[in-house]
């Protein structure tokens, strides 16, 4: 069937395929993202104390601004020890992990992500008392950023 198509149509079809959202199966799954977080910070996390700032709809998945902040006084006695960010629809779920000392003064980090397709971005904070806190945001991506 394909060989009957003119070359130009094939190239156009290939380009269209490259631009279209990739099928979910070729990326990480929400279960893989959860498993990764369990390995990084085992235990049950509660919703709260973590805030994710990211656009709900992004045109360009190659450069998606993200700000993650965690409510914490960042003192010796009470601070954020680690912060993990995962995305459950990229080829691999890991995005970044941070380890903080109280010298940070404030637990807030910003970065730019690649998002291959529409998916959920999850952040998990591990406090100095061992408690785990999480938040997540669903992001709709019009053009994936995996090949960028």
């Amino acid at each position: 069937m394909a060989e009957t198509l003119p070359r130009r149509a094939l190239v156009a079809a290939g380009l269209a395929a490259a631009m279209a959202p990739l099928p979910r199966e070729s990326g990480a799954t929400p279960a893989e993202a959860r498993d990764l977080l369990q390995r990084l910070a085992p235990g049950a996390a509660r919703e709260g104390r973590v805030a994710l700032r990211i656009e709900a709809i992004v045109d360009n998945g190659a450069q998606v601004p993200l700000v993650v902040s965690v409510e914490s006084p960042m003192t010796e006695a009470d601070h954020v020890r680690a912060l993990h960010v995962v995305a459950d629809g990229n080829p691999a779920p890991g995005v970044a992990s941070f380890a903080f000392t109280p010298r940070a003064g404030r637990c807030e980090v910003s970065m730019r992500l690649r998002l291959a397709r529409s998916q959920r971005v999850v952040a998990l904070a591990e406090m100095s008392d061992g408690s785990l806190w999480t938040a997540s945001r669903e992001v709709t991506v019009t053009v994936g950023g995996c090949s960028a």
Binding site: V67, V95, A96, S97, F100, R103, A104, V109, M111
Partner: protein, 110 residues
Amino acid sequence: MSADLAPRVRLPASARRGEVVEVRVLVQHPMESGQRRDEAGRLVPRRILNALVVRYLGREVMRMRLEPAIAANPLLGFFLRAEETGMVELEWTDDDGTIHRSSHRLNVAG
């Protein structure tokens, strides 16, 4: 050997002692994800900056592990508590083994 990261670091011109200030860092790096294909359809091997350590006055403030989901030419922001005038040091580790270090002066008054 990888090219220079040409780090651009934005710190406040001056901070008060105890003030929590934002540090913004922009570096030049392709952050090859290992997922991209070249014109011939071959996968371009992964090569990213995989770690950053931030020290201030010689003591660690924060460290970060980066994955291929961090976009090309990483732009990062984080905070630190100003204590006294001194250097903020950044140490990046590249997948190719190169360690990139740079130092940036933070002026603290009072």
